[in-house]
Subunit: 111 residues, 2 copies
């Protein structure tokens, strides 16, 4: 009776200088840059990713993959076709419910 | 030329009432309780774990598994035989460098 567990896609932490933080992580840990620009970066680890975000753009959060965002509220569709809904737990921690790219998502308007 | 990437063992978030938060997560997501008492809990997801900690006991952090804590500073050995060193990134985010249980660790004093 093992159930299929949900995946944590990434954990996001705030940094003031994306490039500086990316260098710091790459120098110390076995991780790879999945994406990087001046406003955010995603570092790939063996089992999940670490997102580096600017404080003025995103809160601390972690993202759980789901097939269906409907129960969680109105979705925001991202430029890469993924979509998400941010919810808060009992203590105000931010949980991003995230669907990964699908054909339906890819045809939805970007934001 | 693929390198072996490091594993993120867990992400820890602060909650005021462990039992209440555990219930909230179990009701909404496909995860399982790995450990729970009144002072902290660990929820197992498919690829990593989510730790729920009390604000007065632990900061927000995430933990990266390593075989060797020596480069990171003086280790604290936990009751379960694991040991860790907390470091801070460029912006003060807490990164726990964590070794998993080994025979050497298991014979070290608890703390």
């Amino acid at each position: 009776m093992t159930k299929k567990l949900a995946t944590i896609h990434h954990t996001a932490i705030q940094v003031k200088d994306i490039a500086k933080a990316v260098t710091w992580y790459l120098e110390r840990f076995a991780c790879e840059v999945e994406y990087q620009d001046e406003s955010w970066a995603e570092l790939k680890f063996a089992n999940t990713s670490l997102a580096l975000v600017l404080p003025e753009q995103h809160s601390y959060h972690f993202a759980i993959v789901t097939d269906d965002l409907t129960p969680y509220g109105e979705a925001v569709t991202h430029r890469d076709g993924t979509a998400s809904v941010y919810i808060k737990d009992t203590d105000g921690n931010n949980v991003e419910m995230l669907t990964l790219q699908s054909e339906d998502d890819a045809t939805a308007p970007s934001s």
